[in-house]
Amino acid sequence: MAVALQILASGFAAGTVYGLVAVGHSLVFRLTGVVHFAFGELIALGVFVTLFVAAGSGPVSQTSVGGGRFVLALGVGLLVTAAASAGAYFLAIEPYRARGSTIGWVGASLAVAFAVRTLLVVFFDRPAYVFPDPLPFRRIGSGGFWHVGGATVQVRSIFVAAAALGLAALGVRLLQRTRFGRALEAIAQDYDAAMIVGLPVARLVGIAFALAGVWAGLAAILAAPSAAFDVDAAARYGLYGLLAAAVVWFDARRALAVGIALGLIQATVSSAHLGDASLGPAYRDVIPLALGLLLFAWRAHGAAELVE
């Protein structure tokens, strides 16, 4: 029971971030028909730029950054993510999408992913980074942890889950209630028709790319202080988000749910044990990804909407 609660808390927090990235993947795919392979790396860019503005590239402790400095850093980080996302769309994705060259956009978005990853690894060359935490969670409970019925729950993880769900709800509201959202819906329904009726399609899709990056970047930044952070951690967000979105063929709502499920599976694999037998953290990526791929393959054979 205690273990289940612990798994639920930590898995849910990671899962909501995967889910939010999955929603971003779904939005991008619905609008353009492309898979955004650089999503995770652009999130990493946002996180590292935030870190750099907040604390420089030297060693950081969790408490060393004040609130004002952090808000500034967050703003700069998100701005860079937005600009990089929109830039990646205009420079590397749209030209090939327009030409109908699948191999082209696949190659271009992967190229962006590896270019960003390399630059980040070169500039932030330590194996892992501690991310400053502007919010004083360590003062809540005992040093930032609650002990509930034998389980130890990180207070932060509840905050991350709540914040990510809040962001998801806000995103849905934005898409359903605003002119911008309706315009995106029109583009998703029929790209060419939206262009013919005079919508500034390229600009709107560029903004959507930027927003998808900001949304996921914000979630990742909120989650970053919970554990050591490196480029691979963000690449995982991109990857799990992609898997969650692909399994339900880029249906945003269900993608969010699958993302959360992946997070829970991951937490279960990391910490659950039956008697003496346990899988442990070594399998924390292998098993969720393998299960997700199996589900994807099964759906690829069953669901008509997935077939060209």
Binding site: V35, I103, G107, A108, A111, T118, A300, V307, E308
Partner: protein, 575 residues
């Protein structure tokens, strides 16, 4: 045919198809073969490693170039081959056994991935293979039993670097030849057709999903083989070598070199290798680790290549096709196609309900009805592209072919190649292995079908410029070409969707003449047509659909006299 005669024949064919690039390739091979004598062991090992990479890239080109599948898991297949081989080698198995096991394991992995995901649209296939790539990388890093975890598996002994180099060179040459043979075989042509226009390829009876899965399996086998040998060359199975970057690098190599030409991937490896040396030099100045410099280099190269819209260094060569006089298998015997009370629903919409009709040999049946009355759905049901929810369809296996509403040609294929795609299900000696080895029987059969293709083209008035790409044809000829392709399947029943849509009066007349001549030959035709003038000139029998139901059928005169038809469909216009 005796072995000697077969060899002489093969020699003649080789001479006939010899080109400048063949000379260049052979010369490069000869020069490359003596390189180890001029340089040291360390350099030779590096070059051998590059050749194994080239070999895996040639395999990938079959999936990426010929089949048009954005396969991002080739590095994972290399890894699978390496794991299988490393375990066997560590237990003292000989190199050849380990290499074979690697190829088998890679092929199996490729086959699994292909079977699981080849049905998906390309974006989905790219996503799935990318995740596979990461999954294998995570597996190797975190599960020590796979490749020894962070320490790796030590694989001592085995051939010297120079021996490895010669093996790698030979395998790359074989992979290049195998690629060339497959690309021009019915297997490669059908894959190319599916790449250009999948629905049209399916309508001609091409099993697109199965062929794609086979292409990915073949790519995986080549990757596994090179992974198995490369791991012995390296002396250690190191999980860090098989990250997603390897898949990306192979993808870059194929795109840079050109995925549609056999010599493209080796050219891509050469370019990447030369630039990597430059990147190492630059990286050492800036204190950047070699691995990172290479990643950045590959990424920048790819961005440059794709943004220039470049098709790669080596372009596909035109293919001469030898004609032969062997007999081809006969066309399907005349047969009729009957549908009994078939129905199909899409959600709440009844696209076809209680439809019964018969297509008889030597007769043209026209299927008419207002827009949205379910004509195309009925056509797809009859062709077997859709399964009916109710009712029964009697059709001879392989006896039905369909053309699509739009003029949908495979733009990079020649006219002759279109017909070869269509006739491929009639081949008896064009399986994967025969195609790969280009056996004498396979080549003789190919020549016979080329002769037949030219004959069919002449029959449809398309004989001129039979070897130019179909995308360069005027629309009217594209229309006839797809009709000719449907005929070349050998089917006795043709289902023809809107053969004159958008055609001028002269073009329509040409199409009508062809359809009539097919009727004379004894084929049964079902023609969906909007133009009532055309229907009147063509049809022996008319079936009228409205809202998915048959509301009248009979001779043109009977249908024209039917009050319901006038009311529902024709309005005041009379036939």
């Amino acid at each position: 045919m005796s072995t000697l005669a077969a060899l002489a024949e093969a020699g003649r064919e080789t001479r006939a198809s010899w080109r400048r690039r063949t000379t260049l390739g052979t010369a490069a091979f000869a020069v490359a073969a003596i390189v180890p004598f001029a340089i040291g062991d360390a350099r030779t090992a590096d070059l051998a490693d590059g050749l194994y990479l080239a070999c895996a890239a040639v395999g990938l080109a079959l999936a990426v170039g010929v089949a048009g599948l954005p396969c991002l898991a080739q590095g994972a297949f290399v890894a699978v081959g390496a794991v299988a081989a490393a375990h066997l080698l560590a237990h003292g198995m000989p190199t050849a056994v380990a290499a074979l096991a690697g190829a088998l394991a890679g092929g199996l992995a490729g086959g699994l991935v292909g079977a699981a995901f080849a049905r998906l649209p390309r974006a989905g296939f790219a996503a799935a293979t990318w995740i596979v790539s990461w999954l294998v990388a995570f597996g190797l890093q975190s599960v020590p039993s796979m490749l020894g975890g962070s320490k790796g598996i030590v694989v001592a002994g085995g051939p010297s670097p120079a021996q490895h180099y010669e093996v790698a060179l030979g395998l790359t040459a074989l992979a290049v030849l195998g690629y060339a043979a497959l690309a021009r075989s019915p297997f490669g042509l059908a894959l190319a057709a599916a790449r250009e226009r999948e629905p049209a390829a399916r309508a001609l009876g091409v099993p697109t999903t199965r062929l794609r899965a086979a292409a990915v399996a073949a790519a995986g086998a080549v990757a596994g083989l090179s992974g198995a040998l490369a791991v012995q060359l390296a002396g250690v199975g190191d999980p860090a070598r098989y990250g997603p970057f390897l898949s990306f690098k192979l993808f870059v190599v194929v795109l840079v070199g050109g995925g549609l030409a056999a010599l493209g991937p080796p050219a891509g490896v050469v370019v990447l290798g030369v630039l990597s040396l430059a990147a190492d030099a630059l990286g050492s100045l800036e204190h950047v680790a070699a691995a990172q410099a290479h990643e950045l280099l590959a990424a920048i190269m790819l961005l440059g290549i794709v943004s220039l819209g470049w098709d790669g260094i080596v372009r596909p060569a035109g293919r001469d096709r030898r004609a032969g006089d062997q007999a081809v298998p006969a066309r399907a015997a005349p047969a009729s196609l009957s549908a009994f009370s078939i129905g199909k629903r899409f959600g709440s919409l009844a696209a076809a309900e209680d439809v019964s009709l018969i297509v008889e040999p030597g007769r043209i049946t026209a299927l008419v009805g207002p827009n949205g009355s379910g004509k195309t759905t009925v056509l797809r049901l009859l062709a077997g592209a859709l399964a009916p929810d109710s009712g029964r369809i009697d059709r001879a296996e392989g006896g039905v072919a369909r053309t699509l509403q739009s003029t949908a040609v495979f733009s990079t294929l020649t006219r002759v190649e279109h017909l070869l795609v269509a006739s491929s299900p009639r081949r008896r000696r064009a399986g994967f292995l025969r195609s790969l080895l280009a056996t004498p029987q396979a080549r003789a059969e190919e020549a016979a079908f080329v002769t037949e293709a030219r004959r069919v083209l002449a029959r449809f008035g398309l004989a001129a410029h039979a070897d130019i790409r179909a995308g360069e044809l005027p629309v009217s000829e594209q229309r006839l070409l797809m009709l000719a392709a449907a005929y070349a399947t050998g089917a006795s029943i043709l289902l023809v969707d809107e053969p004159t849509a958008g055609a001028s009066a002269t073009e329509s007349t040409r199409v009508i003449e062809q359809l009539r001549s097919l009727r004379e030959e004894g084929l049964g035709l079902l023609v969906v047509e909007h133009n009532l003038g055309v229907v009147r000139r063509l049809a022996d029998r008319i079936v009228v659909l409205d809202a998915g139901r048959v509301i009248a059928q009979g001779t043109p005169d009977e249908v024209a006299a039917d009050e319901r038809v006038r009311a529902v469909y024709l309005g005041r216009q009379s036939l």
